[in-house]
Symmetry: C2
Subunit: 245 residues, 2 copies
């Protein structure tokens, strides 16, 4: 297995870090390399806000539901989808401003995620640990005010980076045969395959080193999506200039 | 530079391939490793449709605006955001169906993109060339019908994979200093930095080996977003069960 595939398989979310800082040059280089990711029509519709201020970190940790690793991580970044530069280019070219098309929202969100996945894997390749923080979307308005995000920019998720203090076990993913379909979507396949995966995950939750529980994938994820509806999201996005039409 | 960072920096979209097929085991392994990517609440909200049928490839190439590499690629995959499995888990757990919350749409779209970036980088690590095909969103309805995509599933983008026949030059990305902000979004920074980047890209377009032109980043991207509004997108997504509230 080559080192890139090995790194992909070995990813786990790291939430516990040593006190060692991350060299500013390393952080800069990781971002520069992450930007190598493909971008829809080369719009590169993302920005990163590096948050070091203790009060800001505290606020964001609270927004994210008390995720204290937001405070303890050596670096904390907010990954934003950012159409503002493109919007400015449109106006400067006298082509008219963006109108909040859902399509552009998708392009920008995907652009941000592609770059962020590179950033996470790149950080891991240098021995760092990382975890994405979707919890900032609990109160994206507050986060946007804190970071002074302008129109056409929204915070997609956070990213904690630090030198790992503890390495949790690997969590088994859905089998390839569940997610890969030939020629068209096979609707009949899912139910029985999920049952087998649920057994596997139940075993994982029971046997893992810490935070053991009696549950499975279906139960966990069904509860998670019920709790995380974030009903403010559409209105917030529209206020920031996205998903208007 | 470690091999992972090097691979990230060396990414270019490859649209020209040899006739050599991709071993089925390799494709399976690339997907399995790509699934190592983080997933919001571990929902793993994606599916991949592998399209080999010649007529389907032809249809999709046309939808994408005549991108003939969709036909000539050794493998062509459609990356879908897929909340159907989670929806089934909700119903089975008697927790009620999903309601089309925009938040879940974001989670699923990001999940799909994170996995897809791993898949692209992993493919490149084995010597393959790849390009994402956002053009399938020109007519997502037609693509969804062709692939028989059910409710709660939508095609985010396509992915061509093949052994490279030609390697284009690297396209310079936005400087890190343009996209990275300290503590809060620096609105004043953008205009002058973009002007410098425009000059760099103008030079790149003039000097590159093929398809030379006189243009710059601002002009290119402003035109691209005007052309790609895909005004059907919101209605299509709502029909598939997304972005309803």
């Amino acid at each position: 297995m080559n080192p890139i595939l090995e790194a992909q398989l070995n990813h786990r979310s790291i939430r516990s870090y040593t006190d060692k800082p991350i060299d500013a040059t390393l952080l800069h280089e990781l971002i520069r390399h992450a930007q190598g990711a493909a971008s829809s029509s080369f719009i590169q519709a993302y920005s990163i806000i590096r948050v070091n201020n203790k009060t800001s970190r505290q606020t964001i940790a609270s927004v994210a539901g008390g995720q204290h690793w937001v405070k303890s991580a050596a670096e904390f970044l907010i990954i934003c989808a950012d159409l503002r530069r493109v919007e400015m280019a449109c106006v400067n070219q006298e082509l008219g401003a963006l109108e909040g098309n859902t399509e552009h929202f998708i392009s920008a969100t995907v652009d941000a995620a592609l770059m962020a996945q590179n950033l996470m894997l790149g950080a891991e390749s240098e021995g760092l640990g990382a975890v994405f923080i979707g919890g900032i979307r609990n109160d994206p308005e507050k986060v946007s005010e804190l970071l002074d995000l302008p129109d056409q920019v929204y915070p997609v998720f956070g990213l904690c980076l630090g030198w790992p203090d503890a390495i949790p076990e690997l969590k088994p993913r859905l089998p390839v045969d569940v997610i890969l379909h030939d020629e068209s979507y096979d609707k009949d396949r899912t139910a029985s395959d999920i049952a087998a995966y649920d057994e596997q995950i139940e075993h994982y939750y029971k046997e893992r080193g810490s935070n053991q529980r009696s549950s499975n994938w279906s139960e966990q994820t069904a509860k998670a999506v019920q709790k995380k509806k974030r009903e403010h999201m559409l209105e917030f996005l529209q206020k920031q200039g996205f998903v208007k039409c």
